[in-house]
């Protein structure tokens, strides 16, 4: 597939190519700042402390899931089960905290454990079943959604017990904890990817599975770990989403609005990542998430109908795919 996509290679001199790559890789910073300035002038109430914090909260929910998702993409695994993991973890959080009356720490630990279990399940299907992640996780997502449906009895579970929302959205320096958690996830991700052996193995496995395996990289273990990280961040997001809205949502995307597979994918591609793994830097994804959140928020404040906002987001994904393919051609 890669061969076909990289056909029609662009003939460029080394210097021009380097410039173009630099632009493609870092353009997201410029575009995000431009968009921010644009909305600050055009959209009413956009540039207010309250709205900026709102943007950060929305970005944090999409950002955390994207951070883990990015790790899976880097390892060459397109994990499409995000919504399934979100569904299981949101139902688990609501059931355990509201119905079973578990303490908050225990609820969080168990919901995260559910995420890890989902990631391990993905790993077994992908590694032991030798099935491409894109297909395998599409299938496991079906199983996860069904489990969530069964556990919740198809009902939205409303959380009336106090303590969850308050605890998760404690503010530090005026900024809610979910935002700090997001920054922490990216910091951790950056350290892991650039400073650790595991990170080097993730890049290598995603870039060239065969070469990595022949070089003695434990590729199967790397893929399992990447899928667990992806599911774990999805579960973490689900806890925050559930806490924020005080209810479970069977389909994670329905309540979070911007937390779903498509957003994660768009952010990853806008961040200059290759869909085929092995290329990209996680900090750019943080900016890409901010870009998408600002876009959605700004349009909403300008009273653009939701349908149109969705169309714009769709185009953002299309442009991101084009950018990704162009990058593969130039590189």
């Amino acid at each position: 597939m890669l061969e076909r996509i990289t056909q029609g290679e662009v003939a460029l001199s080394g210097r021009r190519r380097a410039q173009l790559l630099f632009l493609m890789d870092n353009g997201i910073y410029v575009v995000t700042i431009l968009l921010f300035v644009l909305f600050a002038f055009l959209a009413p109430h956009f540039f207010t402390p309250r709205n900026l914090v709102n943007i950060l909260i929305s970005a944090s929910l999409a950002g955390i899931v994207t951070a883990g998702y990015t790790v899976a993409i880097l390892a060459g695994q397109i994990d499409t089960s995000t919504q399934g993991v979100l569904a299981i973890a949101t139902v688990a959080t609501a059931l355990l905290f509201q119905e079973a009356g578990f303490s908050l720490p225990l609820t969080v630990i168990l919901a995260l454990t559910a995420g890890i279990a989902a990631g391990l399940f993905n790993g077994v299907i992908v590694v032991n079943g030798k099935i491409v992640a894109f297909v395998a996780t599409l299938a496991t997502q079906g199983v996860m959604l069904a489990i969530a449906l069964f556990l919740s009895g198809g009902q939205t579970i409303t959380i009336t017990r106090a303590g969850l929302q308050e605890a998760v959205f404690v503010r530090m320096f005026g900024i809610p904890s979910s935002v700090w958690i997001m920054f922490f996830c990216y910091l951790l991700g950056w350290i892991m990817l650039t400073q650790t052996k595991l990170g080097a193995h993730i890049y290598a496995t995603g870039a060239d599975y065969r070469a990595a395996r022949l070089s003695g990289v434990p590729v199967d273990r790397v893929i399992r770990i990447a899928l667990v990280i992806s599911a774990l961040t999805a579960a973490l997001t689900a806890i925050l989403v559930t806490a924020r809205s005080k209810q479970s949502a069977l389909f994670g995307l329905a309540i979070a609005g911007s937390v779903d597979f498509v957003t994660a994918l768009t952010a990853v591609l806008l961040g200059g990542f290759s869909l085929f793994g092995g290329v990209g830097r996680i900090e750019r994804n943080l900016v890409a998430v901010l870009f998408l959140t600002i876009l959605g928020n700004g349009l909403q404040l300008m009273n653009v109908p939701t349908g149109i906002v969705l169309v714009v987001r769709g185009f953002a994904l299309v442009s991101a795919v084009i950018l990704s393919v162009l990058r593969a051609r130039v590189a």
Partner: protein
């Protein structure tokens, strides 16, 4: 050369893939500090034999002797531990990673507790040293491998084998895809390795090249090892005849 030491020996090695008998009871001696060429036509079993030696494949029967000790290879990691390092035909380099990361891929240097954190500085230094030792001309070790020439890539792959403590370096058709100048570069590299006391197993199609660089020439035909000749005692005609399946008298 009569005093050449055998560093590695295969004993009645056998490997089949279904109905295809790729390697038939091969007993082969590899001499220490020498260039041991393995030649043969396509499908003669050369690649399978070296994959058995490098641990990429497991034999159906037979055993190995390394430094006189009977042993099993047990996968690529086991081969590394025995000092056997393969440089594959496609080099197994990761194009989108830089020279240093490729040289240390799978055997990264770490610092601190738990061997978690990469020792970027240490790897950079050692990569420089190793590449200097083999006279490789790579201006920037932070360059991505995809931007290197064929000869430079070969040097990176060999550098990786050396970093892993490779004493026996298997090179599979190292010049197959290279132009004249880069081929010379690789042949010089092989000679440098030999001068440093490394043992080289060289798979090649190119008889002239084999006569230019090898000390021993072994011929495979239809999965069997027909024989090994010292370079000075062999003629090209004899080797070509063996490649075509005529057993030497």
């Amino acid at each position: 050369m009569a005093s050449d030491q055998v560093i590695l020996e295969t004993i009645n090695l056998d490997k089949s893939f279904g109905a295809i008998h790729a390697v038939r009871t091969v007993s082969w001696k590899v001499y220490q500090g020498r260039v041991n060429a393995l030649v043969g036509d396509n499908g003669a079993g050369k690649s399978t034999l070296i994959k058995l030696i490098s641990g990429a494949l497991a034999p159906n029967a037979g055993s190995f002797r390394v430094h006189g000790q009977e042993t099993t290879i047990g996968g690529p990691a086991g081969a590394f531990n025995l000092g056997i390092a393969a440089v594959y035909q496609d080099l197994a380099l990761v194009e989108s990673r830089d020279v240093v990361m490729n040289m240390f891929l799978g055997s990264e240097m770490t610092r601190g507790v738990g061997a978690i954190f990469l020792d970027h500085k240490g790897m950079l230094r050692q990569a420089h040293d190793v590449l200097n030792d083999i006279h490789a001309r790579i201006p920037n070790v932070r360059e991505m491998v995809r931007n290197l020439s064929g000869g430079q890539r070969q040097a990176v792959a060999v550098g990786r084998a050396l970093i892993r403590g490779g004493e026996i370096i298997i090179m599979d058709e190292p010049t197959a895809a290279l132009g004249v100048e880069q081929t010379q570069e690789v042949l010089q590299l092989i000679d440098t390795l030999r001068k440093q006391g490394k043992t080289i197993i060289l798979i090649s199609h190119n008889i002239q090249q084999v006569f230019e660089i090898a000390d021993y020439i072994s011929v495979m035909f239809h999965g069997e090892l027909l024989g090994t000749r010292r370079r000075e005692e062999a003629t090209e005609a004899e080797i070509v005849a063996m490649i075509m399946g005529r057993r030497a008298p």
